[in-house]
């Protein structure tokens, strides 16, 4: 087989595709390097950038949840506690690379520079997707789980066909790994040698369903070898380890070594969304145990010990995050008058004759509403009368 779609076939060595015995950890929960010499630790500036991102992500999660309580957002699936994964996913990519988030990964999109108000568009209900995917090379957030993964492979393959150095980082949850699309995407990527890093945020739950009901594998990273790609798992609350493993995978993909699977072991600290009641299916002490592994605490401790972070610097980071929160709040508090013409405008490049007729129906209804502005509409009338 020739052409860039060729692969090396069945000659690969299984051993180098299996994950480490234990998830990679570079900083322990107290922020102490696991290797005495700090081996593998990213440069301090990288870590400081990451901490800044995590502080923004945490604040953004809090702000979005508050906006749900205030009725400005219909629903919010928070990544509180998963900020290291969110930030690392964005930080290891260049501008030309692509990020494919799940519906929960709003904070990762923000970390990649997508406007925080636009990123919440889906959840605010103005439109399905609020931002231009080409702007920051962030695919639309959508809810059908794992379906974005084959798209990611296609984007990567197209870039490779043109000889561009693009790498695609495609995110997915532990639950999403059970879907057929996960399988087909990883297999396509491996067969075509596409430059994709599949990053599974294993936060231990799919709504109420625990990992054990999702997979019996030794780890989700063990799924890599079955496709012929390396699988690795990482402490998903250790930003240093995530940056190390993910950026390694990204650079290998860029160099033409094909796709890789990375599992970040983390925890969904809050309910699935505000509509969910997590106490129905998990114990408080389980949550408490994970609270002790908070990704922000551990990195901040390390950077303070290293002298890279002091109170003044920390205050700056908090203020920067506060600005993002303010921008989010202000944007979400603005009501956009929805334009019903939009319903018909984007279905096709040119609306069909059928859609033009249907648009006319809506316009006619609205113009009649306009005419009877001061009267009561028939609908309201009926409600009036039955009161």
């Amino acid at each position: 087989m020739t052409g860039i779609t060729g692969t090396t076939g069945m000659t690969r060595d299984a051993d180098r595709m299996l994950p480490s015995r234990e998830p990679v950890m570079l900083l322990d929960p107290d922020g102490r390097p696991t290797a005495a010499d700090g081996d593998g630790l990213p440069a301090s500036e990288e870590l400081l950038r990451g901490l800044a991102g995590m502080i923004v992500a945490r604040r953004f999660n809090e702000q979005a949840s508050a906006l749900v309580r205030q009725g400005r957002l219909a629903v919010y699936p928070s990544s509180y506690g998963q900020e290291a994964c969110q930030v690392a996913a964005a930080q290891v990519l260049t501008g030309e690379d692509w990020l494919f988030p799940t519906y929960r990964d709003t904070a990762a999109a923000v970390a990649r520079g997508v406007d925080p108000v636009e990123v919440l568009g889906l959840l605010k209900g103005d439109w399905h997707s609020g931002y231009d995917p080409y702007d920051r090379h962030v695919a639309p957030l959508t809810t059908p789980l794992a379906t974005q993964l084959p798209h990611a492979v296609g984007v990567a393959h197209a870039a490779r066909l043109r000889g561009e150095p693009t790498v695609v980082l495609a995110m997915c949850g532990d639950g999403g790994t059970s879907e057929g699309d996960f399988h087909e995407a990883l297999n396509f990527a491996a067969v075509f040698g596409a430059p994709v890093v599949f990053f599974v945020q294993n936060n231990q739950y799919a709504i109420s369903v625990p990992l054990a009901r999702q997979s019996a594998a030794p780890s989700l990273a063990h799924k890599g070898v079955g496709y012929g790609m390396p699988g690795e798992h990482v402490d998903g609350n250790d930003l240093a380890a995530l940056l190390d493993v993910l950026s390694g995978a990204v650079e290998r993909a860029r160099a033409g070594a094909g796709p890789q699977l990375v599992e970040g072991r983390t925890y969904r600290m809050q309910a699935h969304t505000n509509a969910d009641d997590a106490t129905r299916y998990r114990a408080d002490d389980e949550v408490a145990a994970w609270a002790a592994k908070d990704p922000l605490v551990r990195l901040e401790a390390y950077l303070r010990t290293e002298g890279v972070l002091d109170d003044a610097r920390a205050a700056d980071l908090t203020e920067a995050a506060e600005q993002v929160a303010r921008r989010t709040r202000d944007g979400l508090n603005q009501d956009i008058e929805p334009d019903p013409d939009d319903l018909f405008r984007f279905v096709y490049a040119q609306p069909t004759p059928q859609l033009m007729e249907q648009l006319a129906v809506v316009r006619d209804e609205l113009s009649r509403d306009e005419l009877s502005r001061d009267e009561l509409s028939r609908d309201e009338l009926s409600r009036e009368e039955t009161r």
Partner: protein
């Protein structure tokens, strides 16, 4: 098993479905309930609440997150003596299972000349009106109704939800059971035990009327009834037919209704093109041709992807839009 003294209870639609599952499981140990989050959590709409606690993990349980897997697994359970009731968490999340539904669930009995029956129920919370985001509001009934081998049922009230689901579970054939999400919280009096309401295949006239017939099913039935109420005040007498079952279709009942008024409006949330509402309009136009004083009108969703929450009211058949359609039924000729 027939109960003589029928017990009644006031329940929401969600509770009625829960009760139907409960009662069917209590009666028949081969009834199993499975899907995403149906176990410990009791479902995202709490429709399966308490079933695991009462019947144990072997009878009501969570599966991995994979809809084709759930449907295909249920095929095997049904092949081997069980009566699985599977839940697809939301309408659009049933699409991954489409091949299993169309190529196996619908075809197994026919393929095997009746040797392998698949007594299974696919429960799908469906349709809009709850401010749900993309993929949570699809009206997918036409995909199933077009597929020979499936029964397709959509209750419009708690009593039917209970009764039709009991019948669906007892059916020797696969039934797609469409639960209008926006009616989950609507309450009504429910006759408990099987057979409390007319069976699958029977349409019901929900409101008598002489001027025109509104044909609705599932979530549009309450809207049709409201429209008829408003029209009555304007002096127009609208009849409302609730299909209840899309497949089989009650040709006799629907035609009798339309022939009695000579005018018809079909009301459905789904995009209209090549849909169940097309079928109803085509059947009524063909079968009641000489009784019709006006073309059959359709009030359906537009042929667009289901809109975001802030725009969904434009997509949903409303009282006003139904009354506009009624106005267009060429009364000048009457």
């Amino acid at each position: 098993m027939t109960t003589t003294a029928v017990e009644h209870a006031t329940l929401s639609t969600a509770q009625a479905i829960n009760r139907a599952l409960h009662d069917a499981m209590a009666e028949d140990p081969s009834v199993l309930v499975l899907g995403e989050d149906v176990g410990t959590l009791g479902g995202v709409f709490r429709v399966t609440d308490g079933l695991t606690a009462e019947f144990g993990e072997d009878r009501c349980f969570d599966t991995p997150l994979a809809e084709a897997g759930i449907a295909g697994f249920a095929v095997g359970l049904a092949m081997n003596g069980m009566r699985p009731v599977i839940e697809m968490q939301f309408d659009a999340f049933a699409y991954p299972a489409f091949e299993q539904v169309v190529s196996h669930i619908a075809k197994m009995r026919n393929r095997t000349r009746g040797r392998v029956a698949l007594p299974l129920v696919i429960r799908i919370p469906y349709a809009g009106g709850i401010g749900g985001v993309e993929h949570h509001c699809d009206s997918s009934e036409s995909y199933y109704a077009h597929t020979p081998g499936l029964h397709v049922v959509a209750p419009s009230n708690p009593a039917d939800a209970y009764s039709l689901l009991r019948e669906a579970i007892a059916s020797p054939d696969p039934v797609v059971f469409l639960e209008p999400k926006k009616l989950y919280w609507a309450k009504g009096v429910v006759a408990l035990g099987p057979g409390g309401e007319p069976g699958i295949g029977a349409a019901v006239v929900r409101r008598q009327g002489t001027d025109a017939t509104l044909i609705a099913y599932g979530p549009t039935v309450p809207v049709a009834l409201e429209a008829a109420e408003v029209a009555a005040r304007d002096g127009r007498s609208l009849q409302v037919v609730d299909l209840r079952s899309i497949v089989p279709f009650d040709d006799a009942g629907v035609c009798a209704a339309v022939e009695s008024t000579g005018r018809a409006v079909v009301i459905a949330e789904a995009a209209g093109f090549a849909s169940v509402s097309s079928e109803i309009a085509a059947r009524v136009s063909e079968r009641c041709f000489h009784s019709l004083s006006a073309p059959v009108r359709r009030v359906t969703g537009f042929d667009i992807p289901y809109p975001p929450p802030k725009l969904e009211h434009f997509q949903l058949p409303s009282v006003d839009r139904i009354l506009d359609a009624v106005d267009e039924l060429q009364w000048e000729d009457a």
